[in-house]
Symmetry: C2
Subunit: 196 residues, 2 copies
């Protein structure tokens, strides 16, 4: 594992999708993407998901803003994501690591007051005691004002979108700060669900 | 890790969701669930996803049938799933392991001829050389008549739904047969996408 200092963060990334459950899903997605400033990340959509790569604060900022732009319409929409840092099979390509940490979409994000139900799972790869950081990070989630409930395979989260995104970003950052070689985190966030 | 023989498989499970991108998504989901015979699995829907637990063939059979019931309407629909076997934090509860392996929904499944674009990722937990089984299982996917393409964080799969589901089921079974202590696999399957 290469040395890391606060000045040399590793490239983080996410494969994410937005699923608006309505007939005009294409328009909602395209218009959300258009409103978000993604100039500090590498971003590419393929036929299954969108890959966003760059510094941790920016991959959360960009994907959260796009999600909330759709959620604020009131339509039921789900954000599904796999975050990754340090995958041995990954390349150094598509890096936007020279960007500073100032996020570009706070105004969009803070304009939306949205409750979410969510699930997340943390997969610290390659280590023997991988359950310990998982339990620690589930505990830490409570410090962000998120309701936490254990269920099969994942952990259920309920709370304001801001708190849940802050919590998820803190988990990934904490794993990096602790020197995790390779971290994967999945998250499914649901807004405006009729079953809520 | 407890001993395992072919007569004593471990309980497998999946947290999965179906996302029909249309106004009548609730009706489509409820009617699909109603048509599927889930009597050989434990199944529970919460406010984010549905948990299905039981033997490996049944968790694939039930979720594949529900997905294809929606896909055959022609609507864009996504199947998103996290499969897990052997999670140390899991309980023995909700087991349906006394069911035999005969699947109950083959007729529904085989009636639907559906192309999919998909992504999957395999996370063998707790082991040092975890990248080797990942690369092996990506190779093995090609034996099922699935087109495989490497991309960031996940592997892209294209092909008939039958082939992709067979491939995914074989990956999880192969990991069990090889004695993996704890296996997680995520899959995102997209049908009828306008971007395909």
């Amino acid at each position: 594992m290469p040395d890391k200092t606060p000045d040399q963060p590793r490239i983080a990334g996410v494969s994410f999708s937005l699923y608006p459950m309505c007939d005009n899903f294409v328009d909602l997605i395209l218009s959300a993407i258009k409103k978000v400033d993604s100039s500090k990340v590498w971003m590419k959509t393929d036929r299954v998901s969108t890959i966003v790569r760059g510094r941790i604060p920016h991959i959360f900022d960009v994907t959260q803003a796009a999600f909330l732009e759709i959620a604020k319409t009131g339509e039921h929409v789900v954000y599904s994501a796999t975050f990754s840092v340090g995958c041995p099979g990954d390349t150094e390509g598509h890096a936007y690591m020279d960007a500073d940490e100032k996020t570009l979409n706070r105004e969009l994000i803070e304009a939306v007051d949205q409750k979410l139900s969510a699930k997340f799972a943390l997969y610290p790869m390659g280590g023997g005691n991988y359950m310990d950081p998982i339990y620690e990070q589930i505990e830490a989630m409570k410090d962000h004002g998120v309701d936490v409930e254990l269920t099969h395979y994942e952990t259920m989260l309920d709370g304001p979108a801001q708190n849940i995104f802050n919590g998820l970003q803190s988990v990934l950052q904490a794993m990096e700060d602790a020197g995790s070689a390779h971290t994967v985190m999945t998250a499914t966030l649901s807004a405006n669900s009729p079953s809520a």
